[in-house]
């Protein structure tokens, strides 16, 4: 696994939003995003980033402490050491106080045409 310099998220909330700050969980440390803009309320878009500078064993987007959060789609831009920046996109998921969703994905493996 590579060392993550920074990552940015862009989350499009569906019908059921939440008013709590958006948190992520990096190697089991729950933290808020830096430079957050927008919100996770219904139909809104939240964008945030974090300067990690560490190795990702696990990275998740955490559900609200109460209620449900319907995510329509979300994307994550990763900037990792010795790797080209890459973006991972995910579709619909609903989070609550008992769940979090994995957002970590290793850099794409090199593929070539033959």
């Amino acid at each position: 696994m590579p060392r993550v310099n920074t990552f940015k998220v862009k989350v499009h909330t569906g019908q059921q939003g939440m008013s709590e700050p958006v948190h992520f969980n990096f190697n089991n440390h729950k933290l808020p995003f830096e430079n957050g803009t927008g919100s996770a309320e219904s139909g809104k878009v939240f964008e945030g980033s974090f300067d990690v500078n560490s190795f990702a064993h696990s990275l998740t987007l955490v559900g609200p402490e109460s209620g449900k959060w319907e995510i329509e789609k979300f994307s994550i831009e990763y900037d990792c050491e010795n790797e080209k920046p890459y973006t991972v996109q995910f579709g619909r998921v609903t989070l609550d106080e008992t769940t979090e969703v994995n957002i970590w994905q290793d850099p794409p493996v090199l593929a070539f045409d033959v």
């Binding site: 064993h57 789609k73 991972v88 769940t99 970590w104 493996v109 070539f112 045409d113």
Partner: protein, 263 residues
């Protein structure tokens, strides 16, 4: 490491006020000098409950342009370099997979025969629209020269349109129940007793056609030797006990949980 510092600072701020409230509430008589053991239990319960981690598939934009008449093939060597996955823009074996262990097993299967004619090809696994190749020379990590030969061979067989897999293989494909029974039996009697010595366990997650998906747990999850155990131990046991098993997928998230082996 600034995020760790912030985490512990945050945790301290959250826990302390709650524990002091608990002590006041549960100690009505001020002269009681011995602290009630219950607040300590209360402190522990203040840790947030462990959440379950949802795994959802990322959205792939597709590796090939849509509606192309050409045979397009992408080669993707594994990170360890021991095998290479070839993805073709058309089906090779719909709904099933087949493992060709050597040239003899490729008889009457034009695709596998063509691939085994290449010097360095050791094994061939055909699954849906992919072919996975292992090579004989394990010291070579550069797949480009061999991958080009493999791509040309796959393309030639597809263009010839004389079938890809032997009819006897297609007609003798086992039922999912037959595969499930055989694989579960080998897991229970051979694989799990073997990995139990290391605190590990293997569970059968799914069967699709004759392809199986397993998950490694306990001491196997996150273990640096998991890949070796999977390829040299589990694959060998499965194929020996259930020769008609095709692809074997491992869906273990070796980084998940609070205590993967390496943490």
């Amino acid at each position: 490491m600034n995020f760790i510092k912030r985490f512990f600072t945050g945790m301290k701020q959250e826990v302390e006020p709650e524990s002091s409230v608990a002590e006041v509430e549960k100690s009505p008589a001020p002269e009681v000098s011995q602290p009630d053991p219950e607040p300590e239990t209360g402190d522990v319960s203040n840790f947030p409950p462990v959440r379950s981690v949802l795994q959802i598939a990322s959205i792939s934009e597709g590796i090939f342009p849509k509606d192309s008449d050409e045979v397009l093939i992408k080669a993707q060597p594994s990170p360890t370099g021991d095998q290479c996955l070839f993805t073709v823009n058309r089906p090779l074996m719909k709904g099933h997979s087949w493992y060709f262990s050597d040239f003899e097993s490729a008889a009457e299967s034009p695709l596998a025969e063509a691939l085994f004619c290449l010097d360095d090809v050791e094994t061939v696994l055909v699954c849906e629209s992919t072919v996975t190749i292992t090579r004989k020379d394990k010291t070579l990590v550069d797949w480009v020269p061999l991958a080009k030969e493999i791509g040309a061979a796959i393309r030639e067989v597809l263009m010839a349109d004389n079938g890809l897999i032997a009819e006897k293989i297609i007609s003798g494909l086992p039922s999912e129940e037959e595969i499930r029974e055989g694989i579960q039996n080998v897991i229970d009697t051979e694989v799990n007793p073997g990995v139990a010595g290391h605190g590990g366990n293997i569970s059968l997650l799914a069967i699709k056609g004759n392809s199986v998906t397993i998950q490694m747990g306990g001491g196997c999850q996150g273990c640096s030797a998991a890949d070796l155990t999977l390829k040299q131990g589990i694959h060998t046991s499965f194929r020996k006990a259930v020769p008609k098993v095709g692809a074997i997928f491992d869906e273990t998230d070796h980084t998940a949980g609070l205590n993967p082996y390496f943490s």
